[in-house]
Every structure is written in C-alpha cells, then in structure tokens.
C-alpha cells in the first residue's frame, strides 16, 4: 500500500517529462499579463500617478505594504512602468525566463497594490496564482525562448524536467472549474434554485452581457436559460474529472476551449479567461506525446528531404547563427552544409559559386529553390515555429529593401562579431 502511494506520487509529480508544453504555455502567460496590464499604462494619470482615482485591496495585501506602495512618488511609477515593460518582454521572449518572471510578477504586485481599480479582478487573482507557480522553476524557458538559443542545445525541445509544476498548473485550472461550479450550487450560489442565466440575458445594455446575436432569443426563454445554466454547472463539475481521464481528455480540452470562446464572445469578462485558460487546458496533453509527435515530424522531414543551409564554416559567427537556426528548427527541416567541406558547390546547386557562398547564407529547398541572404529568413519563417512571430517583420512593407541591406552589412562584418584575433580588420571577408 505504502509502495503504491509512493509510486503514484512519483508518477504524478516527480516523474521526468519534457518541458515543451510549459515553454509554450509561458508565451501565453506573458501575453495575458501584457494584454491585461499594458493598456492601463496608456492612462497613467488616471490609473497610477498621484492624480489617479485609486482603490486598494486589503484582503490581498497587508496594510503596511499598501501604505508603503501608496507613498510612491510619480517617478517610481514611471520607473516601474519601464521596468515592467522590460521584464515582461524578457519573459515573453524567454530571456532569463525565471528571473524575468519573478521581476515581472513583483511589478504586477506593485501595480496591484498601487491601484486595484482597473487590474484587480477575480481572474487577475487567478493569474497571480499561475504567475507564482511560473516563478518557482526555470523550466518554462527550456524552449521557445532566447534562453534555449543561448544554451545552444539543439535537442532542448525534449529536455526532461520533474513534472510537478505542470501538474500543479493542471490542478489549478481543474480545481478552479470545480470550485466555481460548487459555489454556484452551494454556499450562496443560486444556479439550481433560481435562473441566473435568464437574469443575465435580461440585464440592461450597460450590464456585463455583450449584445451578441442570439441574446434576445435567450432573454425571452427562461426555461432554456435554466437548462443552459444547469448544463454549465454540470460541465464545470465534470470537466476536472474528464480532463484527468486519458480517454476523455481530448474531448474535455475541446469542451473547455469552446466554453471560453463562447464566454468571451458573450460576456465582458477579462481577457485572462481567453488568453490564459485555453492554453492552460492544453497542459493536459502529455508532453511525451507532444515530443513523440515532434519526432515523427522530424522523421517525415528526413524522408521528404530537408532544406540545405549553406554557410561559411570558417566563420564563428555563422556557426553560432546556424546553431541558433538548428535549435529553432523544431521539425528538423534544415540540414547544415559548410561549403568548405564540399569539393564543388555546383553539385549542390548549379547557380552557386564559392564566392556567393562566402558572401551570404544560402538555402536550397527540397524542390531545388535557391534563396540567399535575407530572403532565406522569409522562406524559413513559415517552416520554423520559433520564426513565426517574425512573419510580420519579414513581410512588413519595405522590409524587402531594408532587410537585404541590414543582412549585407551584418554578413560583411561577420568576422568582427566573433572578435577573431586573426581577423581584427575584417580582412577575412573578400
């Protein structure tokens, strides 16, 4: 009996599993925090400076902390705005992931203590619980992050970590659903004894319900509203169990995401419900399955033929760049080729020459398409997930002119970037 409990505990919390899901989740946590807090910075006078109307949350903070924060001069507010923005961006891109998460969370606490009026909602408290857990370990920086690129470990997408953090995040969201339902049917909740959905649908236009297309239809049908209300409660009670049962898991995740899409389409609820909860539901997907899927895709890339990136193997900067590209290359689409190791580059592509290969990176796609310099990033940003955010940048109007110029400048001075002793004057570039 004791052994089986220890085994169960080990499997539930201590087992090593890939941290890929957590890394993906980090991006959404950062987006959620940003979307919730950053808009409040556009009206500092109204929200945080000495001119603002402020409310305080004494349930959450101690009076000493509130008093201390409320004494902040405006200069401190400006400092924290900048500090939050920087740490938030670092957390988003996964640079010093754990450290930036801790600092960003402290900033969130600062603004919450300074003025709870705009940002302080029940869902904000949920987000802070998530943030607290994210601060505990650096696991979320293992992939989809600058930290992963800095580490230079090409297989960082399958780095194994103790599963406890992901499990606690799973328990957090599952329990939130469960307790939400429990409060609706016990305590002072009235979802079984009354008809809250019906009242909500009939709220005045200034109320919390959006003017969605079927609102009037529902507002005229109390029986239907009651059934919907009870169905919501039943789903919220069942969801935690369905999420933990492997056979029902994918359906439960789908149901949860659908619930949140409907919620934000019909109610004025904070964005947290849309940007945080659905990705948190995805944490129920076993990360081993995700890595298995990635490995399968990598295998398919091998079979279909990979794209060859032709680079200068004598240039440390190029080596580092290729290593970064390969770390980003989750699906194994790229095959690096140092042109110095090739007898004749014409065998790779008839249009290639050693001079061309020396001047810039080249990409030969499986169908033989050749591109070089800046334009290989335009090609790759659709193939490499970590480059997806740059699609907008690479295709921004004018980037076709500015991009090659910047690339050319970097390529021309690349020997200087790695401070090669033999190449102090950039003489290595011909």
């Amino acid at each position: 009996m004791r052994m089986s409990i220890i085994q169960w505990w080990g499997r539930a919390f201590l087992e090593l599993r890939p941290s890929l899901g957590l890394s993906f989740f980090r991006i959404f946590v950062a987006l959620t925090v940003g979307l919730h807090v950053l808009p409040s910075f556009f009206h500092l006078q109204d929200n945080y400076l000495s001119t603002a109307f402020k409310t305080i949350n004494l349930h959450f903070f101690t009076p000493e902390i509130i008093e201390f924060v409320q004494k902040s001069p405006d200069a401190w507010v400006y400092f924290f705005v900048v500090f939050f923005s920087v740490t938030w961006f670092f957390f988003l891109i996964g640079l010093f992931s754990q450290f930036s998460c801790i600092l960003m969370t402290l900033c969130c606490y600062y603004f919450y203590a300074l003025n709870a009026f705009h940002i302080g909602t029940l869902s904000w408290d949920i987000l802070l619980v998530t943030l607290f857990l994210m601060c505990v370990t650096p696991y979320h920086g293992d992939y989809f992050s600058v930290d992963a690129l800095r580490s230079g470990q090409r297989d960082s997408y399958k780095r194994f970590r103790p599963f406890f953090l992901q499990r606690l995040l799973q328990l957090q969201i599952a329990s939130t659903y469960f307790y939400t339902a429990l409060h609706k049917i016990t305590a002072s909740g009235n979802w079984l004894t009354d008809n809250p959905m019906y009242y909500l649908m009939n709220y005045p236009p200034e109320g919390v319900v959006k003017q969605f297309i079927f609102r009037e239809f529902f507002a005229a049908r109390p029986e239907l509203c009651y059934v919907i209300g009870v169905t919501i409660v039943v789903c919220e009670i069942l969801l935690p169990f369905l999420l933990f049962i492997p056979k029902t898991r994918s359906g439960a995740i789908g149901l949860g995401i659908f619930f949140h899409v409907v919620l934000v389409s019909t109610f004025h609820v904070p964005t947290i419900f849309f940007f945080l909860f659905p990705p948190q539901l995805l944490l129920f997907i076993n990360p081993k399955d995700i890595v298995q899927w990635v490995e399968k895709k990598r295998g398919q890339s091998q079979n279909k033929g990979r794209a060859q990136v032709i680079y200068d193997g004598h240039c440390q900067f190029c080596e580092t760049s290729i290593n970064i590209l390969l770390t980003m290359d989750l699906f194994g689409y790229l095959k690096p080729v140092d042109y110095h190791t090739i007898e004749s580059v014409k065998t790779l592509h008839p249009n290639l020459t050693k001079e061309l290969c020396h001047s810039q990176l080249h990409l030969i796609e499986p169908d033989g398409t050749l591109s070089g310099g800046f334009f290989i990033f335009r090609r790759l940003c659709f193939k490499i997930p970590m480059l997806y955010p740059f699609i907008f940048v690479f295709y921004f109007p004018g980037s076709g002119i500015a991009g090659p110029l910047v690339y050319r400048w970097v390529a021309k001075n690349r020997y200087l970037f790695h401070r090669a002793k033999i190449c102090r004057d950039n003489a290595c570039f011909r």
Partner: protein, 146 residues
C-alpha cells in the same frame, strides 16, 4: 534531496491552494469562525465567478452640474482605459465609487477630469427586476461633489 524538496513544496502548495479555495464559504461555516486568509495570493472568497446572480441590477451614474443643469457623463469618458477584448465599464467597475469611503478621492478625480462642471452628483442606480419590469429604475444620490 531534490525529490524531497519538490514533494514538500507540492504538499504545502496543495494545502494552501485548497484551503484558500474553500476557506470562505465552506471552512469558515464548518469551524464557525473566520479562519485566517493567506495574504498576497488568492481572492478573498475563493473562485466565485458569477456564482450568485439575482434579478436586480445595480450600478453607478455620474452627473455633472453646470448653471443649475444636470448632465449625464458617459462612464467611458470617466474611465478611459480600454481593456483588450472587454469593457471594464460593462463589468460595473464604476459601482465601486458609490462607497462614501471613496467619495473624496473620486470627487478630486472628477474635478480634475471635468473642470467645466461646477458640481458632480454620484448616483446609485437600481433595477429591482430586469425580467419583470426592465424599464423600472431607481435613483439614489450617493454623494455630491461640491
């Protein structure tokens, strides 16, 4: 050593999380007293999204007074912060200003935002039944900013 540390963290966290999730509505009545709340994390009453919605609806309205005339001030002009994907005004955030505790601070804020008015009146608005009589609306002046 690491496994023990993680296990200890998990146990403590689970205890705190479930304690705070059930403290206000379940543990307090069970023990017959107000149990201590853990500061710096968790809401005061657990996860209670929309848990009790009745047929009444209340909110706040702000009026500017000038030359003896009363003008309704659009709440979006009072709280100009635009949240992404939702409207804080519709979440009834303005109702917080009804508390007389907030009166002086809110009056200061209104005077700064709307210097053109001589006075302001903050009123509580109440719909007794949104289903039976949706047009029926009661007003009560909460306070006047002189």
């Amino acid at each position: 050593m690491r496994r023990r540390f993680i296990s200890l963290f998990v146990l403590v966290w689970l205890f705190i999380f479930y304690y705070e999730s059930s403290r206000h509505f379940f543990l307090n009545p069970f023990f017959g007293r107000e149990l201590p709340k853990i500061k710096f994390l968790f809401p005061p009453a657990g996860w209670i999204m929309f848990f009790n919605v009745d047929e009444g609806y209340g909110g706040a309205e702000v009026y500017g007074i000038k030359d003896g005339q009363r003008y309704f001030i659009n709440p979006h002009d009072i709280l100009k912060t635009k949240a992404v994907g939702y409207d804080n005004i519709h979440r009834n955030v303005l109702s917080e200003v009804l508390s007389s505790y907030h009166g002086p601070a809110f009056c200061r804020f209104l005077r700064r935002e709307f210097p053109g008015y001589e006075q302001f009146e903050v009123a509580a608005v109440f719909y007794p039944s949104v289903t039976e009589n949706p047009k029926k609306k009661f007003y009560r002046a909460a306070y006047v900013c002189e």
